[in-house]
Symmetry: C2
Subunit: 136 residues, 2 copies
């Protein structure tokens, strides 16, 4: 299986497969005589693992740790759970931040007429002026 097929089979682009190899996340596969990379089924399995971890928002570094734990038959599941739980906390912090932004923006958009007059509470807020505050 060459890199294009491995890419299709795993959902990881060929570019990224080479990149992951270059940073040591995955091992360099064997090559053909003409220097093409050849992937075995288990190597594609690793790529799918990586893809899923990245999709779940783990960084490449976290993914490397998880991959190591996956391949270590004697690891404790507690270690994996710690990483997952820490990741959940980070995601929830991020979500809260975004929700706070949305809340502010919705309030501003609600107050903004969106018509052709130049009065605009959104810009007033960005500018740090609050002359139209009507307290709702």
């Amino acid at each position: 299986m060459n890199i294009g097929e491995a890419s299709n089979a795993s959902g990881v682009s060929a570019k990224m497969i080479r990149y992951y190899e270059s940073i040591g996340l995955i091992r360099a596969p064997l090559r053909t005589d003409s220097n093409y990379r050849v992937y075995r089924e288990d190597e594609v399995h690793v790529l799918r693992f990586v893809k899923r971890a990245r999709t779940l928002g783990f960084s490449v570094e976290e993914t490397a740790t998880l991959l190591g734990l996956w391949q270590d038959k004697s690891r404790a599941s507690a270690e994996v759970k710690d990483i997952a739980v820490g990741h959940i906390a980070a995601l929830e912090t991020k979500i809260a931040e975004l929700q706070s932004m949305v809340k502010t923006l919705k309030h501003l958009a609600h107050c903004c007429g969106g018509d052709n007059r130049p009065d605009c509470p959104i810009l007033d807020d960005l500018a740090g002026e609050h002359p139209h505050s009507k307290g709702h």
Copy 2:
């Protein structure tokens, strides 16, 4: 007011002030004889505007547009509202994605013993195996 004071007054780092100037987001201020940047109050005001927009998650490019609209006395508030509303939609999409990740991870973490045994549903999921599915 030199760049350090402008930085303190606006919350934008000196590094970023110079960067914003280099990409044309803000105008180059006057200089002293010794080539120091000097900021006036209205320029600090612009910096605060930029800071607030960035804090609200607008990209630098969106910020540039908003800044242009802010400084254009004849602009229509509809245009500003469109940007804000589009931005809200993008943020909500991002939030939904993150929430989906959290949901999956919480389920996996819940199923994971977190003990010293190597059995780990989290890794099984990443690996694409679902042998322990008990349907809850």
